[in-house]
């Protein structure tokens, strides 16, 4: 009977695994193979293998792209931590009116990097709400809009939900009694926070930080619209440019492999900290 049951379970899960292999694993393996071929020769059917040449091109010409791809999301994740941690604490510990509206507005950016980038872009253009700021400081809008600052701002709005979600889930596991005990024993609120709450919620906060970083690695329209010519120098934008305009799938694939490795590392760390993987 037990063996029969096992056979049924294997039978049940196999379609999902087959689908996963066909539409997720094989495309990834294809990218890996493509990264060793020249141009679009792989897609056209006669792959020309060039060894590691594409990767050398990445190291030689696109190193600033890779550095930007790491730096922008890191800065955005830092901003998210500063803004998101108190918010998560308020959501978990305090009563709030219109809780659902707040949660909806928190989750919303996750679905719409298209609106984050388009909205921010419109806001910074002349005639937007920041005109007075540019008037007072004498800056041109181009000193904010097409620079890394705008990209980082867009990224941090886009991924704030993750920070709040992960931190809140780890904060809600802390028993409020522990906090009260700290107060009773004479700790000040500040001391309670730094000595009790922060260490206990650290796993969630770290997981949130890495998740923010990982999601922003794949952000495309935010750097494209807000970064202009210079600050849009990140891997995703380069991949789209190389594939859809230059048809250089080989080079684009080697960039995609680098992006994928970074994503796998950050995803693995997130899942490990939140204990999905042993």
């Amino acid at each position: 009977m037990k063996r029969f049951l096992k056979a049924i379970y294997v039978l049940l899960i196999s379609p999902t695994v087959v689908y996963l292999v066909l539409f997720w694993l094989i495309p990834l393996i294809n990218i890996l193979i493509m990264s060793f071929t020249r141009g679009e020769s792989f897609i056209l059917g006669q792959p020309e293998y060039v060894g590691l040449q594409n990767y050398f091109t990445v190291i030689g010409e696109y190193y600033s792209t890779v550095i930007n791809t790491i730096l922008f999301p890191l800065s955005a994740a830092t901003i998210d931590f500063i803004l998101g941690y108190p918010l998560a604490y308020l959501l978990v510990r305090r009563r709030i009116l219109f809780r659902n509206v707040l949660r909806a507005s928190l989750i919303f950016p996750y679905f719409g990097d298209i609106y984050v980038s388009y909205g921010l872009w419109n806001m910074f253009l002349p005639g937007g709400p920041f005109d007075w700021f540019f008037n007072i400081t004498g800056l041109s809008y181009k000193q904010i809009l097409y620079t890394p600052y705008a990209v980082i701002l867009g990224f941090s709005i886009f991924t704030l939900p993750f920070m709040v979600l992960y931190t809140a889930s780890s904060l809600s596991e802390i028993d409020p009694a522990i906090e009260e005990a700290a107060y009773t024993l004479g700790a000040s609120p500040l001391k309670t926070f730094f000595k009790v709450i922060l260490p206990l919620s650290a796993p969630g906060a770290v997981a949130g930080f890495i998740a923010c970083f990982g999601w922003n690695l794949g952000g495309f329209l935010i750097p494209l619209l807000l970064g202009g010519v210079e600050a849009s120098n990140v891997i995703t934008v380069k991949i789209v440019y190389l594939t859809l305009q230059l048809h250089n799938y080989g080079l684009a694939s080697s960039l995609a492999i680098i992006l994928m490795i970074m994503t796998i590392i950050s995803t693995y760390l997130t899942l490990k900290i939140t204990r999905v993987v042993g």
Partner: protein, 269 residues
């Protein structure tokens, strides 16, 4: 006593000021798109245009909206077919590499759309012959969105007591009757949650269709993306974006209101 009360009130005030600031920070781009869709800026100031920009939206946009709704619905159904058996096995059966298998099954959600897009496009063109087809679009979109269905299904199946299935079986129900009559109604909120998440996600995804759909099928998000890139300053585009983002916001709000935290997968607060 008065001192303490005042302290408490100031804390509450501080809390709401902070919340308002953060919400404003998050929502300002979205609100500004809405504002832009109703106004027109001239050299002398801002003109209120009413629904003028909404009436300028071309017919092709509405056709794309219908296409997108159909695609999103079909993708959610495919996601359910793919995810349900896997979620059932993961929730009911203990085996050695379960955690690793779970991680692998969830991994497509974390794959950047660009990487999935380049990979799927090359595989479709070279091997499957699905590039630019309707089937290819559906299966491709499902490949990165099904974990969003898997997680709430898994969460609700895990907390469901197997005793109900056993009782139904003892009373003579066939396996398919057990699934349709007993399990589906009991995990209803989980199914609903998965459907909403995948539906909204597909509705707003522009990057994957950009690679795999080709020019034959117009999807709303792709159209919006190209409009933003080439006609970004027109009020009409702001109106188009407003329609889609309001629809998304309402769906998310209803979803949070009608499903319990248990079924929201990674989105529970």
């Amino acid at each position: 006593m008065g001192e303490k009360l005042r302290h408490e009130y100031s804390q509450i005030l501080l809390k709401y000021i902070y919340l308002a600031l953060v919400i404003f920070f998050i929502l300002s781009p979205f609100i500004f798109i809405l504002y832009r869709s109703f106004t027109y800026r001239t050299y002398w100031g801002v003109l209120f245009t009413g629904l003028k920009f909404y009436s300028e939206i071309p017919q092709a946009y509405w056709r794309a909206l219908i296409n997108s709704l159909i695609v999103a619905l079909l993708v959610s159904i495919i996601d359910f077919i793919i995810a349900f058996p896997a979620a059932f096995v993961l929730a009911r059966y203990e085996f050695k590499y379960k955690r690793i298998l779970t991680a692998i099954l969830v991994a497509p959600m974390f794959t950047p759309d660009i990487v999935a897009g380049v990979g799927l496009a090359s595989t479709y063109i070279r091997y499957y012959g699905l590039y630019g087809t309707f089937t290819g679009t559906l299966l491709g979109l499902a490949s990165t969105s099904y974990p969003m269905m898997l997680l709430p299904l898994f969460a609700s199946l895990r907390t469901l007591d197997p005793i109900y299935e056993d009782v139904a079986k003892t009373l003579g129900a066939k396996p398919h009757q057990v699934i349709i009559r007993v399990i589906f109604p009991l995990i209803g909120p989980g199914i609903f949650s998965g459907f909403v998440l995948t539906f909204v996600w597909c509705l707003n995804n522009y990057l994957l269709p950009l690679f795999i759909t080709g020019p034959a099928i117009d999807l709303l998000a792709v159209k919006l993306y190209s409009d933003i890139r080439w006609w970004g300053l027109l009020g009409r585009v702001a109106a188009e974006a407003s329609i889609l983002q309001i629809a998304t916001f309402i769906i998310v709000l209803l979803y949070l209101k009608f499903t319990g935290a248990k079924y929201q997968g990674g989105f529970a607060l």
